[in-house]
């Protein structure tokens, strides 16, 4: 094509045009919003951290047969609702929500022993609370020692996740943060809200700007890569609006500004490396063309349908870009089902157990042998 034959827009795909990609479609059929930079195989360890929306990603990965990495596992045989109560299985380690990029950097520095964990502990009604994850235990900790031992487990798990994950997913949530004026470290929530006591002398509000957020994110990426050079990173932005703002603005304005900055940082950092990608969960939920359909009536919480829609788009785009993954995934799921069926068959008609341990297969013989008539006559 010569320069006179047309213009560059003639050669761009349909998804580049609002009319064909958006306006002429039902909003539920708007697709191809993500062009993944790298494949995610079901064998890869995937860690998820960040704002509360990140937990949906981890859960969806598990449900689709991917290897979501639970680096800090719950105690063996803890019931599902108890796990939830104690915040196991929410993120890959029990960090609680990591709302800001500076909090991510802080956690990674502690885990990688680049910085010492502050000694600050909150105390109320005979229980102790971790300032950096104040709601991680339903009733706080019994002692400072217990708190610190628990946090050490979490830091060890975070380090493991950082070192051994093939894919590290981080969801950016907030620009607004609370810091200790004297020592400079950051709290995930304002002291005095979930726990602790607020002191205007000790605690300061900081609404981070693009430059600060980008720097903290890049520092975090460098730290991750220093312990795991092969790691790939997926950034997302939480679509969940602010609960409250200290910015002085209306919460709606504060939300829009905050999310816009986070979105800009995520895009900027993702463009800086082939190993860093951005997945548009924020746009899928929040774009005006979605008409707020994926929010609960409070216009803040994302509905389960919204989460499902986001994650369906994640897998659809992934499998479209890498069709071989789709086939392998289907095979892996099929293999999993077949393995269960084989175990059930081996256990025989008489066995009603759902416990697929081979030990119990041997044990049937063991038990019957102990009570066999031959034995009684021996």
């Amino acid at each position: 094509m010569s320069d006179d034959d047309g213009h560059p827009y003639l050669d761009i795909p349909e998804t580049a045009f609002w009319s064909s990609a958006v306006a002429k479609r039902n909003f539920l059929e708007i697709s191809d919003l993500w062009n993944p930079k790298f494949p995610i195989k079901s064998s890869m360890k995937i860690s998820t951290f960040g704002s509360c929306f990140a937990q949906h990603i981890g859960r969806a990965l598990r449900e689709h047969g991917f290897r979501w990495f639970e680096a800090e596992e719950a105690p063996e045989r803890m019931a599902a609702d108890t796990k939830s109560l104690f915040n196991y299985g929410v993120f890959s380690a029990r960090t609680g929500n990591i709302y800001t990029t500076s909090l991510l950097k802080q956690w990674l520095e502690w885990a990688c022993e680049k910085n010492e964990v502050p000694t600050e502990v909150w105390h109320k009604d005979g229980r102790y609370y971790d300032p950096f994850r104040p709601t991680i235990e339903p009733d706080g900790f019994a002692s400072k020692d217990e708190l610190q031992a628990s946090r050490q487990l979490t830091l060890k798990a975070l380090r493991t996740a950082a070192e051994s994950s093939s894919v590290f997913v981080f969801t950016l949530g907030l620009t607004e943060s609370w810091k200790n004026r004297v020592h400079g470290y950051e709290y995930p929530v304002c002291p005095g809200t979930a726990a602790g006591e607020f002191s205007a002398e000790q605690h300061e509000f900081v609404n981070q700007d693009f430059v600060e957020i980008r720097k903290a994110l890049l520092d975090s990426v460098r730290l991750l890569q220093s312990v795991n050079p092969k790691v790939r990173i997926i950034l997302t932005v939480s679509p969940v609006p602010l609960t409250a703002t200290m910015s002085g603005n209306h919460v709606l304005l504060a939300t829009m500004e905050s999310k816009s900055i986070l979105r800009a940082v995520a895009g900027n950092v993702a463009r800086s490396s082939e190993r860093i990608d951005y997945f548009p969960s924020y746009e899928i939920i929040n774009s005006p063309v979605m008409r707020g359909a994926f929010f609960e009536p409070n216009q803040r919480s994302v509905s389960s349908a919204g989460v499902r829609h986001v994650m369906n788009e994640f897998f659809r785009c992934l499998f479209k870009a890498y069709p071989e993954l789709s086939a392998k995934q289907a095979t892996a799921e099929h293999r999993g089902k077949n393995a269960s069926a084989t175990v059930a068959r081996k256990k025989g008609k008489a066995l009603a157990s759902s416990d697929p341990t081979s030990g119990d297969i041997v044990c049937d013989e063991e038990l019957l042998d102990a009570f066999s008539p031959e034995r009684d006559s021996r």
Partner: protein, 227 residues
């Protein structure tokens, strides 16, 4: 003293042991009621008996008890509920006391053994004992023993979580343990195949007659201080 033992496949080692030591224990009569895996879940409380609701369980109850078709609770002067989902979890050091307590409570409350204990208690004041599924011989690698909560702590916590009157946990005796978590390897069984009679490799979970002797002697000492 008429004692019942209600359990799963792990009851086999106790029965084998009792066969060889019963002559020394004239004052006690044990009646066994056992069935494989979780099939004891099909026991239903009917008046003052626990009655199997499947032919498979009925058959196993009959085989293991010497011909009884149900468990006549009122005939027992003590009952040991053995294994049946009552087991100690592997918990890293650093997990909070509250989480350990919650986990032990979850395991108890989710177990068939606990359900049976509660049902028995609803019709009888008979002393009840719960016995844990034997610790495997390879719960934790020896190099990492210090990273996990020892069994005796878990046993204490679980005892506190029972909440059924006159019911006590009789954990496996220290003499069966190689260390704070693993059962001594020599107690691991070499089961014989029923079909071929050939020996199988130890599964690390099911214990042999020697283990059964250790447990039965321990249980008799523990239980008959109370009965």
């Amino acid at each position: 003293m008429n004692c019942f033992i209600i359990g799963d496949s792990h009851t086999g080692s106790l029965k084998r042991a009792w066969d060889s030591i019963s002559e020394k224990q004239h004052a006690i009569k044990f009646t066994f009621f056992a069935s494989t895996t979780d099939t004891m879940k099909d026991l239903i409380l009917d008046d003052d008996r626990l009655v199997p609701s499947t032919p498979f369980l009925e058959k196993n109850i009959a085989i293991t008890s010497g011909g009884l078709r149900a468990i006549p609770i009122k005939s027992a002067e003590a009952i040991l509920i053995y294994s049946l989902g009552i087991r100690f979890p592997r918990i890293p050091v650093g997990v909070t006391a509250a989480a350990i307590v919650a986990t032990c409570r979850d395991i108890l409350r989710d177990s068939i053994g606990y359900r049976l204990a509660a049902e028995i208690r609803s019709i009888s004041d008979v002393p009840l004992f719960l016995g844990n599924k034997p610790q495997r011989v390879d719960v934790v690698d020896k190099a990492h023993l210090a990273d996990y909560v020892p069994m005796h702590i878990l046993s204490e916590v679980m005892q506190q979580q029972i909440g059924i009157s006159n019911t006590r946990l009789v954990s496996q005796p220290p003499s069966t343990l190689a260390d704070p978590l693993n059962t001594e390897f020599s107690f691991s069984t070499n089961p014989k195949s029923l079909r071929s009679g050939s020996r199988k490799e130890p599964d690390g979970s099911h214990m042999n007659e020697e283990y059964g002797k250790e447990y039965m002697n321990h249980f008799i000492t523990e239980a008959f201080q109370q009965c």
